[in-house]
Symmetry: D3
Subunit: 256 residues, 6 copies
Amino acid sequence: MYTVRVDQPDCRFGNMLLEQFGGANGELAAAMQYSVQGINCDDPERKDLLMDIGTEELSHLEVIGVLTRMHLKPMKNKRNEAEADPLIAVIGGGGVNLYNSAGSAWTADYLKVTGELDVDLRGNIAAEARAKITYERLMDFTEDQGTLDALQFLMTREITHMKAFTLALESMGKPAFSIGRRPPTPGIVDQYFNDSTGVGQRGETDALGPWNQGGGWELVESPAFANLQSPVTGEREHGRPTNHRKHAAAAAKGKN
Amino acid sequence: MYTVRVDQPDCRFGNMLLEQFGGANGELAAAMQYSVQGINCDDPERKDLLMDIGTEELSHLEVIGVLTRMHLKPMKNKRNEAEADPLIAVIGGGGVNLYNSAGSAWTADYLKVTGELDVDLRGNIAAEARAKITYERLMDFTEDQGTLDALQFLMTREITHMKAFTLALESMGKPAFSIGRRPPTPGIVDQYFNDSTGVGQRGETDALGPWNQGGGWELVESPAFANLQSPVTGEREHGRPTNHRKHAAAAAKGKN
Amino acid sequence: MYTVRVDQPDCRFGNMLLEQFGGANGELAAAMQYSVQGINCDDPERKDLLMDIGTEELSHLEVIGVLTRMHLKPMKNKRNEAEADPLIAVIGGGGVNLYNSAGSAWTADYLKVTGELDVDLRGNIAAEARAKITYERLMDFTEDQGTLDALQFLMTREITHMKAFTLALESMGKPAFSIGRRPPTPGIVDQYFNDSTGVGQRGETDALGPWNQGGGWELVESPAFANLQSPVTGEREHGRPTNHRKHAAAAAKGKN
Amino acid sequence: MYTVRVDQPDCRFGNMLLEQFGGANGELAAAMQYSVQGINCDDPERKDLLMDIGTEELSHLEVIGVLTRMHLKPMKNKRNEAEADPLIAVIGGGGVNLYNSAGSAWTADYLKVTGELDVDLRGNIAAEARAKITYERLMDFTEDQGTLDALQFLMTREITHMKAFTLALESMGKPAFSIGRRPPTPGIVDQYFNDSTGVGQRGETDALGPWNQGGGWELVESPAFANLQSPVTGEREHGRPTNHRKHAAAAAKGKN
Amino acid sequence: MYTVRVDQPDCRFGNMLLEQFGGANGELAAAMQYSVQGINCDDPERKDLLMDIGTEELSHLEVIGVLTRMHLKPMKNKRNEAEADPLIAVIGGGGVNLYNSAGSAWTADYLKVTGELDVDLRGNIAAEARAKITYERLMDFTEDQGTLDALQFLMTREITHMKAFTLALESMGKPAFSIGRRPPTPGIVDQYFNDSTGVGQRGETDALGPWNQGGGWELVESPAFANLQSPVTGEREHGRPTNHRKHAAAAAKGKN
Amino acid sequence: MYTVRVDQPDCRFGNMLLEQFGGANGELAAAMQYSVQGINCDDPERKDLLMDIGTEELSHLEVIGVLTRMHLKPMKNKRNEAEADPLIAVIGGGGVNLYNSAGSAWTADYLKVTGELDVDLRGNIAAEARAKITYERLMDFTEDQGTLDALQFLMTREITHMKAFTLALESMGKPAFSIGRRPPTPGIVDQYFNDSTGVGQRGETDALGPWNQGGGWELVESPAFANLQSPVTGEREHGRPTNHRKHAAAAAKGKN
């Protein structure tokens, strides 16, 4: 798409770049997630969108692959460079493969494909946000101008895609919290379980925000939890809620 | 939290339930994703939220585990039942383990944790949507009332969490497409690359929607793509865009 | 070692047998665990033991492989048989490979190798117990006499090995709970944390046994936990313990 | 590329087809193996070949994906169909994902990429042979004409690629057993170690063939092995060879 | 539980600490192994034990997570620190995730869960021994006092758990080598197969110990192995045993 | 087999050596690939070959394991050495395990086993070529003479095996491109799809070679592809071919 240029190869940075080639938030993950969703999609218009962006990500895979290859090439015969990524040096002779920076092989477990269009679009929005922040961090670790140019371009396109997926989701006209066909149980759906008593060992108070107060929320304190009406038995429960994590978190809160 | 009841154990359904115990969209994945994000979180209020919901998901893990165990128990000594999930029967003696329905071991590759709060919240919204649709599908495959009650409760809570994460994200007050610190390149960010010419072999027309027209979008047709200004070279490119996927998709479009 | 005989091939049972060929408790896992431990071992006598048993397990791998192959062979061309294990049928043409019954590839993550001899021996004792119970369960799922004979032999040898590893551990003369060089902190090491209050919603009482009463145990009730002397701060803690799991477990206890 | 047609959807066969979508010998594996090799390749002509075939395999991925999707679609709401592949039914709503027939996620561990062109070409020839036999076996398990037509086309192309890779390798003009720069040690390279004495418990005789007799081979019987000149010590070794496998194999040879 | 304190963050040590967060012998592995066993357990008393310790390990997961986070935090923006763990730096922004020190994602393949209580307890004893030695080694690699305090506490608790599991096993009153219901074959169970002749090339003699002499053992020399009565055929076998490993081990014994 | 000698232990090189112990092209992969193929093999002569070489590779596993152990041993207590491979240092106490240089656990996904003899032999030839180049690269990264001697021996044997497998394949007398029973479709099998138009943005011309011209090849230019006769519909297709990769590759071609 444009000429990739590397002014100063840097093996250790090349190792980092593998994240966007064969890593969890990388271009293959993006290309496959959207393309596979596209194959499953029955909505012809959004299928076109999924295929368009899937195709673009596939071309990005090649761009990042070429860029990474340039940084890793010196590994082939130099012991010192090889230590930056022995897997690439010994197995690949300095060539890229679909690993991440830790040498873990790419896996389809990275993908989120549900066959439910609006759910998939939400997953894609999140995926693009992850890809954007990953590119940004990579840019923080290099000063090579040719590399920065390429990463800036790729990073920009992730925002483009994030926007497109968001608009495609909105245009479906579904209410924000309506997923699938089965409605949630009224009442229970509006209860926020405060799974901590707010009297942790360091005296921290529970946080309040729009996610648990106002707007129809019923803030269910732990003790009240005992009276939660079970949808199963039709009886009030009398136990206490699970409340360990808050305490452990408080306890483990470091002072560094 | 409430009494799990199974009226009629069903090994093959128990195998399906493993998806929510040790599967990609299941309760361990949810519990770990939110708790680990919570450990990394520097915002004390939303950290509290992440810990609250992480804790609740952990209790759900136990509910779904007990429910699944009840369905799988008959596997232990009956060859016919054992065929529903040989891994559970032979290795587990009819007991659950952190596998999905295909016997794949749970892996942290399922998690999306970036250490960037708003990005993580977007990932959590998508994760809750996936969990919701997974519970709905499981409900489509059973008629056992006790099981349906438990699944309805768990499904409802996913919507609750989805709502909480959405409100927590909104309350951060960040613009919708602003991720991290580095801005995208103006101009390029508003270009929608129509990676297909719209004259596929079956005559389908390209789809138009709010994701590529109006609102500041510049729809870049493939030919125009040749004139894209490269952020790298500062020169206009003269090539043609990558356009394979659309064609292949069109070609492969089945008639079934 | 002896002639493997199969009277009636049974593809679905062959699929189950894969657990002992390429599964977590199977013969390759045993052979590799002991052999790798042997390579690392500096004690020449127990190294000999590890190599002897590692070698025997390797011959068992071949026995179980041949036995499994006999059961799976009919898969090659018969659609109905192939459904018993499509991976074996399509990829292997009815031949075995190092998969378990769920088609998961064997992984060295199954191995427990620490390079600390007494720790490794404990791991081996446990591994042999697992292999034994796995063989027993397989025997519960077949009536083929030739197969039963082979499995009985292999199962017997696991007990032999369990015994040998136990005696090798005992002959090292180390106290039962002394691992490595660093001693545990006195006092704390004898505290049993009763991470539940014993007043669960269904009224179950906490269990008492030699693992938390008598013999030097200090049973630390949850409230008392607040006064645990921290080895870090030298101060008494004032929080409450983590106590969620017990409640959740109680709550989720089914009635089926 | 051509219209995929399915006359009679068949979920269990769709499950098998996943081998060529997300399996070890499937189209993604082929597309990625050749494309990644192409990125690493410094020979412009064979790089073009790798990219051409990598591109074609990518279009095949879409063909097989669409075909598989058609077979799996009925899974969505029917319990009986869902049992054919619960992972696809529950997680994918009947949509494909990059799994194999056993539900294992696609992994880059399937790829063989060395960055040494002639070595990679040998790997590709073998990969095409595997893909061919996989398609043939799938054809043995279906009678659906539309499906057979598609599989016949895809199978044919694997032979085309096998031929192209073979000719590309031959045109490099390298001797058959010359790999890399370092020559093997003369003498030792021509020794065939007969790691069994030929007097197994069932009296089988060792096999002789062009792989161990004639043509410069020195057949080193196990006893002679003791006199092998070590390249390390410069001394003759006096031990006996490793000879276990042959015996075990013989012993385990079944009578079924 | 107590305040975690880090005096001097150390990214490379933080990378090592990940072993106890998301590694094979780490706290998630322990928490999940015991909790899942607890869900499967039909013995109410030992189920309580499994749940108590599972809960405690879960709180340890949080302690180790917070500790590790403190050590890794400087990675976020510093290239030099980021090289200590590029995966954490680029994907996590310096935040922890469920990886081990090599960046491999946590997998349930680490767990040993059989659904047979005494077998599971043996596995837990071994698991605690492994966790103890892992903590000890970590302590060997840091001099940070706050970190050492936390690790000493966590290490101590592993010994506590090892003791509890041992006593729980003993209190079941089962004979040491009785697993499951099916007895081993008498005679064969007491034979120790000396899978090497004791005349290796370096003249080492076979080791003797309580694991192969005295106490009912029949030491079966390799030649005698030929006369082993097969449980399958009822005939004496006439082959020689597999004896390769011992020789290879002897041969490969280094002089360093 | 011969005495392994290490003059100067080198932890970082020991880490690299793990590739041949527990890596994708290593000795366990070779040993298992050939042995498992041997178990499945119905041709008694080539089964003997597979078992002979499988056995030899198993002895090589031990040689490389001992060699690697010698290099890694200093890791146990030295922080600086431990940083060369924290997984080995912390989990293994300086002992080897079946990991590759990136700490990924060995997986049977590395194996290529099809149960079709000539296909397997092709895979083995390629596997030996990979093992050879891997040994060569390792030799490029060390100057330790004892280590070099061992690697030279092991490398030499890979060529021996490559030759043996090649001759075994040739002696089967099958035509070069005949795999299985189903013949490819005439005509289509001889078409080389030039999936790029040869007028890339940088003006590169398409490569021609024996793999797409002469010898019966029909070079199908992209436009002509539109007229490819579909084996499915019997109709001429009118679309354009997939041609993206070539362009993307050209575009991404770096200048470094």
